[in-house]
Structures are given as structure tokens and as C-alpha cells.
């Protein structure tokens, strides 16, 4: 057999091996977390807040962190959508395809997407000190909003870029103003909005470094924006740094809960995306 065919065979087996390796990592990560997290998982974990001495092995659960994460994710997703939909609309309807401002804006959002969350956290923390604020749910929501706006914009923008020009022309021909075309544009980028929301929720719920500075940590469920809020990733992190083996086991179950929530979001996201695509031309 010629050398090039042997080489081809080797290269192909290496590729298959590496592709299997990637899938293997996913299976291994989920299996590892399941194996350690499942035994310690019980109803108390997700229905109770920590009781006294929880971090030394006392009773209770991590409802505080689950609710804290939920509030932060809901708040920041709402704010993020509120800011990014007008921006995407502006970039794609009001600006030309070769506009300098649009290019700079897209580059800026790409850069923002790359900024590590710890940098956002540190930045927000100094601002909060400057304003005399304490760590709070509101601060956490703001930082996560900053973190997910670039994700929102970039993934919606990708769909909006595919928007046929004829469609906009058709709406203008019917006498619609640029602003009124938003009804058409929104319907067209609906799948993009769904995917974007899904991606940002995933990132928002998993972020630890940003909220560490700004949302703080607490054992109770926050009742107002100015109270500190616990989050799931930090709850995993703090429990894992405990020397007590029982508490560490709970960290594994908390990680399991976190991974479960993320997977559920991504599966429902997929279903919604297919559903929303029906209006797409």
C-alpha cells in the first residue's frame, strides 16, 4: 500500500480517537458528578435554607443559593434583553451593512464577550465601594447583565444579519417607518432571541467570579435588591472548601443540581428554538 494511504488511515484514526475523547470528557464529567453527588442528594437540600451550623455538618439545604441564582438569572436576563434588542435592531435596520459604527460596535461586543468575569466583578466592586454600596442582589444582577449583554447581542445579531433585504423593503413599501419594521424583525429573529437567552442563562447561572464580589453570600433568601444573595456556584465552592466530609458531599450534590438545571435549560432551549423557527423565511 502506498504511504499516503497508510498516512490517511492513521490520520483518520487519530481524528476519531480525539472526537471520541471529546465525547468521553462530557460523559466522564457528568458521571463523576453523578457518582459523588447523587448519594448525598435529598429533598432537604433543595427545599430548605441552611440551618445553624450547616457548614459544620448541620441540617438544612441550599434553597438560599438556588433562589439567589434564580433571581439573578431572571433579573439579568430581563435587563439584558431590554438593552440588547434595541441595539441589535439599531445595528441591522438603521445602519448600513458597511457602516463604520456597526463594525466598531460589533468588535466592541466581541471584546466585551472576551473580558473575564472576574474583571467585571473587580470593576463593579470598585464602583460599588465608590458609591458606598454593600454586596447585594442588585449589584449581582447588574454585573451578570454586563456579562451577558455581549452574548445576547452577538447571537441575535448573527441571525439578524441573515435578514433578507427584500423583506425590509416590502415593509417600507407598505408605508411602515423604520421603527415599525421592528414587528417584522422581531418575528424573524425570534429563534435568535431564544438561542441567545438560552446561552446567556447558562452563562449567568454558572458564573462565580463576577457574583463573588458583587452579590456576596448569605444563608437567607434575599427579599429586596439591596440584600446580599447567595448563588449556586459559590455555594458549591464554599462547601467544597470545608474540611468536613459531609459538607463536601453536599457540595457535590449542589454541583449536580447546578449541572441538572443547566442541562434542562439547554434541552428546553432547543425545543423552543425549533418551535420559534416556524415564522422564519
Amino acid at each position: 500500500m502506498k504511504f499516503k494511504f497508510i498516512e490517511e488511515k492513521i490520520a483518520k484514526s487519530v481524528m476519531i480517537f480525539f472526537a471520541l475523547l471529546v465525547v468521553g470528557f462530557v460523559v466522564n464529567i457528568i458521571y463523576t458528578i453523578l457518582r459523588r453527588g447523587l448519594p448525598a442528594l435529598n429533598w432537604d437540600m433543595i427545599s430548605k435554607i441552611p440551618e445553624g451550623g450547616y457548614y459544620n455538618g448541620g441540617g438544612g439545604g441550599i434553597l438560599n443559593a438556588i433562589m439567589g441564582s434564580l433571581y439573578i438569572v431572571l433579573g439579568s436576563t430581563f435587563l439584558g434583553l431590554l438593552v440588547s434588542i434595541p441595539i441589535v435592531f439599531y445595528l441591522n435596520v438603521f445602519l448600513n451593512k458597511d457602516s463604520k459604527l456597526a463594525y466598531i460596535a460589533r468588535l466592541a461586543f466581541d471584546i466585551m464577550f472576551g473580558i473575564p468575569s472576574i474583571v467585571y466583578g473587580a470593576f463593579a466592586f470598585t464602583i460599588m465601594i465608590y458609591l458606598g454600596m454593600h454586596t447585594s442582589l442588585g449589584g449581582g444582577i447588574l454585573v451578570i447583565t454586563l456579562l451577558i449583554i455581549p452574548i445576547f447581542i452577538r447571537s441575535m445579531d448573527e441571525v439578524a444579519l441573515q435578514l433578507p433585504k427584500d423583506l425590509l423593503d416590502a415593509t417600507y413599501a407598505l408605508g411602515a417607518t423604520k421603527l415599525e419594521t421592528i414587528k417584522v424583525v422581531l418575528r424573524q429573529i425570534a429563534p435568535g432571541i431564544a438561542t441567545a437567552t438560552l446561552l446567556s442563562v447558562g452563562r449567568a447561572i454558572g458564573d462565580a467570579a463576577g457574583v463573588m464580589f458583587t452579590a456576596g453570600f448569605t444563608d437567607s433568601i434575599p427579599t429586596s435588591l439591596s440584600q446580599p444573595a447567595a448563588t449556586l456556584p459559590l455555594s458549591v465552592f464554599f462547601q467544597l472548601s470545608s474540611p468536613n466530609a459531609d459538607v463536601q458531599d453536599r457540595a457535590y450534590s449542589a454541583a449536580l443540581i447546578l449541572i441538572f438545571i443547566v442541562l434542562v435549560i439547554s434541552v428546553t432551549g432547543r425545543v423552543i428554538t425549533t418551535h420559534f423557527s416556524k415564522n422564519k423565511i
Binding site: 499516503k4 498516512e7 490517511e8 490520520a11 483518520k12 487519530v14 481524528m15 480525539f18 472526537a19 475523547l21 471529546v22 465525547v23 470528557f25 462530557v26 466522564n28 464529567i29 463523576t32 458528578i33 441595539i87 445595528l91 438603521f94 466598531i104 460596535a105 468588535l107 466592541a108 466581541d110 471584546i111 466585551m112 472576551g114 473580558i115 473575564p116 472576574i118 474583571v119 467585571y120 473587580a122 470593576f123 470598585t126 464602583i127 465601594i129 454586563l146 447558562g202 447561572i205 454558572g206 458564573d207 462565580a208 467570579a209 463573588m212 449556586l232 456556584p233 458549591v236 465552592f237 467544597l240 457540595a251 457535590y252 454541583a255 447546578l258 449541572i259 443547566v262 442541562l263 439547554s266
Partner: protein, 281 residues
């Protein structure tokens, strides 16, 4: 809408400026060169040498990229050039999950799987004793974390190569691997480099997962089995006490500023290159 768009662009500059202004006070006592080349880290005495942290960050990042690059390259080639569509769907699903897993879960996986593996299986072949909480552990966990980003960028870049190029090469009698090697990779080399730089900047800022597995000892690592202490971990571990020690806040903000600047430059340049490639189709 114009205002929100411009405001969000300015935010990037504002963050950079804010961090810079916050880190200025430390330059009054130490020159910039002294700060990044000294390895004395004694905040109580006003000694802030960033070298161990910079070295830790560089080590972990280099290991991650060296490990992830071949895996990502071969997997992406397999997905674009070889695989059937149902295999592609499976691997993409795995990649989506991998990208969605929160970093704290990667950290838990690292402590449960990678760290024991290094300390029990791998390290005894090379050194007398290792806890497993090493630079290598950080690099491996980080490498798995950047895989989804690298692969999806590579797939995007490889798909941008026109089909005619492949056909021409195949009709000359080249095998698929020869085509991949001499046409696809050569044609997309700038894009590959840009994608690597982008993933490096992602790796630089990763905080919580690396912090959990790399040991956090303030030394310059001399081997893969030494502990290390990357910059983001430094910020995350010390933000609580930074207000009580003079100049500490300024030093940590300098760390955040360094991260910001490096990520900014890396992102801006690589995004510009990728943008050109994908849009020149």
C-alpha cells in the same frame, strides 16, 4: 437606540480606564517593571511582586492550549471533512453540553478526577510526592474548558473554505488527509492562529475552576507538578481583605487591569482576523 449603542461601546473603554485609575496609586511606590519582575509578595510590608502570578497564569494557559490544540484541530477536521451528519450532530451536542457546564463544576470534576489521577497515577513516575493540586491539573481542566470554543471556531473557519478547493485537490489524486493538510490547514492558517489567540484570552481569565485545582501557592512553578497561583485566583482569593491593607486594593486592581489589557489586545486582533476570513467567502 444610538445612545445605548454608543454607551455600550464606551463601556469597554470606561472599564479599562476605571481599572487603570484604581491601580495608579501603586505606581507611586514601585515602578511598573519592578512590579512585574519581582517575586516578593508581602502585601503587609508593601511588597507587591507579580512575577509568580504572571508565571502561574502563563504556565497554566500554555499547558491548556498545548493539550487542547491537537484535539480540537483533529476533531474539527473530522467533523468538517470526514464525518457523517448524524455523528456530527452527536459531537455537536456533546460540545454544547461541554460549553454549557459551569466553571465551578469543572473545578469539582478537577478535584474529583484529575487531581487524584495526577497524584496517584501520573506524578509517582516523575516526582517523589505530589498532592495533585498542580499546574498540570489546572492546565488539563482549562484545556477541556476551551475545547468547545476552539472546535466551534475551527469548524466555522474550515467550513468557509470553498468546496472547489477540496475538489481540485482530490481530483489531483490527493487523499482527504493530504487535502486537509496541504489545502484546508494552509488556507486557514491565519484563522487558526486567531482562534488560538482567542481561546488563550478565554483561558487567561478563567478563575474559579483553575483556583480549585492548581494549589494556590505563591511560587514560580518550575515543573508541571509544582503548585501555582494564577492572577484571577489572586484577585478572587483576596478581594475580602484588600480594603484592610494599604495599597492592596491598588495591587489587585492592577492585576485586573493587566488581565483586561492582554485580553483586550488578543481579542481585538483575533476577532478582526476571523471577521475578515468568515466574511470574505
Amino acid at each position: 437606540m444610538f445612545t445605548i449603542t454608543v454607551a455600550s461601546i464606551l463601556l469597554v473603554i470606561f472599564i479599562g480606564l476605571g481599572l487603570y485609575l484604581k491601580s495608579v496609586p501603586i505606581f507611586e511606590h514601585n515602578s511598573f517593571w519592578h512590579l512585574i519582575s519581582s517575586s516578593e509578595w508581602k502585601p503587609g510590608k508593601g511588597e507587591f511582586g507579580f512575577l509568580p502570578f504572571i508565571a502561574g497564569t502563563v504556565w497554566v494557559t500554555v499547558i491548556a492550549v498545548v493539550l487542547a490544540l491537537p484535539v480540537a484541530l483533529f476533531t474539527a477536521l473530522y467533523l468538517t471533512e470526514y464525518s457523517r451528519s448524524y455523528i456530527r450532530r452527536w459531537v455537536f451536542t456533546a460540545l454544547d453540553i461541554l460549553a454549557g457546564i459551569p466553571s465551578v463544576v469543572y473545578g469539582v470534576w478537577g478535584t474529583l478526577f484529575i487531581v487524584p489521577w495526577i497524584s496517584e497515577k501520573l506524578a509517582p513516575h516523575f516526582v517523589e510526592y505530589s498532592t495533585g493540586y498542580t499546574t498540570l491539573a489546572g492546565g488539563i481542566v482549562l484545556g477541556v474548558m476551551i475545547l468547545p470554543l476552539l472546535i466551534s471556531l475551527f469548524v466555522e473557519i474550515f467550513s468557509a473554505v470553498p468546496k472547489e478547493f477540496r475538489d481540485a485537490s482530490l481530483s489531483l489524486g490527493a487523499t482527504k488527509w493530504q487535502t486537509s493538510k496541504y489545502v484546508i490547514i494552509r488556507k486557514t492558517l491565519p484563522g487558526i492562529i486567531a482562534a488560538v489567540i482567542l481561546s488563550v484570552s478565554r483561558a487567561l481569565g478563567e478563575t474559579i475552576a483553575v483556583l480549585m485545582v492548581c494549589g494556590n501557592v505563591t511560587i514560580i512553578p518550575h515543573s508541571l507538578f509544582d503548585s501555582c497561583y494564577p492572577l484571577p485566583a489572586l484577585i478572587a482569593n483576596n478581594y475580602g481583605e484588600m480594603l484592610s491593607v494599604p495599597m492592596y486594593e491598588s495591587a489587585l486592581m492592577l492585576a485586573a487591569f493587566l488581565l483586561f489589557i492582554v485580553v483586550f489586545i488578543f481579542n481585538a486582533s483575533s476577532r478582526a482576523v476571523i471577521y475578515k476570513i468568515v466574511h470574505s467567502r
